[in-house]
Amino acid sequence: MSRAHRGTIFLEEAEVIENDRRPAGQHVLRMRSPAVAARAEPGSFVHLRCGASLAMRRPMSVMRADRAEGWFDLLFKEVGAGTGLLARCGRGDRLSVLGPIGRGFSPSPERPRRLLLGGGVGIPPIVFLAEHLAASRPVVLMGSEVPFPFDLRPSSIPEAGLPAGAALGCLEAAGVPSRTASRAGLPGCFDGLVTDLARGWLGVRSSRQRVELFACGPEPMLRAVAELGREFGVPSQLALEEHMACGTGGCAGCNVLVRTPAGPAMKRVCVDGPVFDGASVFGAATP
């Protein structure tokens, strides 16, 4: 049999290069981890041992990876015990990293008009994908209910169907148009949901057969993206989250219900995902 999967996930003692504190308990953690940095793709994640006191690792998406310098960045929000320990890491600390894990986004060449949506802790893989696809000029929408962990600046790249407003500085610099949405009254941000912005953008597209949606974020947002895809006849690739034990496909702890041509199946978010076809995970409710 093909044993191509063997040896594709690496276990490394990664050294913290920098823990950069951002607003509202958010952190960008840069780690030296050459094996992961060399192989991470947009959508792949690492399974991190946040501390010896915890019996389970924590999954975190890779936000950026520099193969030449051998580091990768995570962006995380402090929400509990594991992320609390991570938040206290400093330069020189070592953490056991298992990765890269998972099947990431795979943009279809037939659909070069790409709309990327990131919400909350789902922002990191979307940043990775946006920077990776920069040459093909995707359009990026980010939503957050707390101050964004990035510098925002007024958008200078107009985009039909989107109002002017605050954009992510790092993406503007790469020539990628972006907009931000928040219901928390953040200055310059669209007052609403990323999916409201997406609806406006999709509404003015005449050749929707060239469009594909990509998203990561809280479940209600992903459901809404799948719904938009259905409404506009556009496919979506969604990065899911589920509690995980092994991160290698061995425990079936992270499975979610997915429709397949052969009927309903339970798929592992860790190695079958985390990216799934939107229609297969959030299909229309069967009557």
Binding site: R3, G7, A55, M56, T248, C251, A252
Partner: protein, 331 residues
């Protein structure tokens, strides 16, 4: 010396970790446990992980027909351990036997089937099907806390446990292990009944039933509410059960795969000294995927330190010395 030559030499000086388990020779007493290593190939994704480091690998609990398992969340961290409620998700015995077993490399390690039925008839049929398959042994799972039918209904009742063993015994000539439930009053009595009914070996012990509640939502964290507790949190409980069951099993020469929270060489040695012939590791793999190799290295050092006999005789001699040396005091 070249690296290869150095590796060869260090292999040569390393004492054999082989143990005998119901007539099967295992290259190491470390067994990777059912439900934690999928169907034998999943962990090989991890670079450095090698099935050959394990004495045996117990495949995921298999039912007659495919099962989708329980809704999310299925796993949850607890202090020094975790809860799981997978609900025996598996592709069913036909797919396991026809699709999965042929792709395994039986030269790498021993593979044990782990079977779970909803009725006596299903257990018998599963044992019969796996009897006619290349697996090295069959482990009867009568202790899964995460299914409504079968599982604990059999495992927590010594009479029912024995009946399951009986029907499986009639259906297979392969080595038969019975995996006991800790969620009952007298595990040793259950073990005694299973031995009488013809089990060749015992696996002690499966997960302890537990739950967790999300204090914000007020709802149970685990989709199916009830779950099995595993990991270091249960080690002292599991160790004591192995110790008790050993007293019943040893006179019959019935070996025990001791398990529950093993995460280090010291844990493994403790189980061997409590009377286990082999030691299972499950949950610890999740945070330490290469733990099996580390425990092997640690056990090899232990054997050297204790005079380089085999695993079984070293454990036996340490036990005997402790018993002769005024053991049994309590503090």
């Amino acid at each position: 010396m070249s690296n290869a030559a150095a590796a060869r030499q260090s292999q040569e000086v390393r004492p054999s970790l082989a143990v005998d388990l119901c007539g099967l020779t295992l290259a190491s007493p470390v067994v990777l446990l059912s439900g934690c290593v999928g169907f034998g190939e999943e962990y090989t994704r991890v670079a450095g992980f090698d099935n050959r480091d394990a004495g045996a690998i117990c495949l995921k609990g298999t039912t007659l027909e495919p099962r989708l398992g329980n809704p999310p969340h299925r796993v949850h961290e607890t202090p020094c351990g975790m809860l799981n409620s997978i609900g025996l998700q598996n592709p069913g015995s036909r797919e396991v036997i026809e699709g999965i077993l042929p792709a395994l490399d039986f030269a790498e390690t021993r593979f044990f089937a782990n079977i779970a039925g909803a009725t006596l008839g299903e257990y018998a049929e599963l044992a019969r099907r796996f009897d006619d398959s290349p697996v090295d042994a069959i482990e009867i799972n009568i202790s899964c806390p995460n299914v409504e039918e079968g599982g604990l209904i059999f495992g927590n009742d010594p009479v029912m446990s024995a009946r399951v063993v009986e029907v499986c015994r009639r259906a297979t000539a392969k080595p038969l292990f019975t995996k006991l439930s800790p969620n009952q009053t007298d595990v040793a009595e259950n073990a005694r009944r299973c031995i009488e009914a013809g089990t060749d070996g015992l696996a002690v012990v499966n997960t302890f039933v537990g739950m967790a509640i999300d204090v914000e939502t007020g709802r149970p964290v685990i989709g199916a509410v009830r779950a099995g507790l595993s990991g270091p949190a249960i080690k002292p409980l599991a160790l004591h059960l192995v110790y008790q069951v050993h007293k019943v099993a040893a006179p019959h020469g019935v070996p025990i795969i001791g398990q529950g929270g093993v995460a280090s060489t010291e844990d493994a040695i403790e189980f061997l000294l409590a009377g286990a012939s082999a030691v299972g590791i499950g949950t610890a793999l999740f945070y330490d995927p290469l733990v099996c190799r580390k425990v092997n290295e640690g056990l090899a050092e232990w054997l050297v330190r204790r005079g380089a006999g085999g695993v079984a005789e070293t454990a036996q001699s340490v036990r005997a010395a402790a018993a002769g040396g005024g053991g049994g005091r309590t503090g």
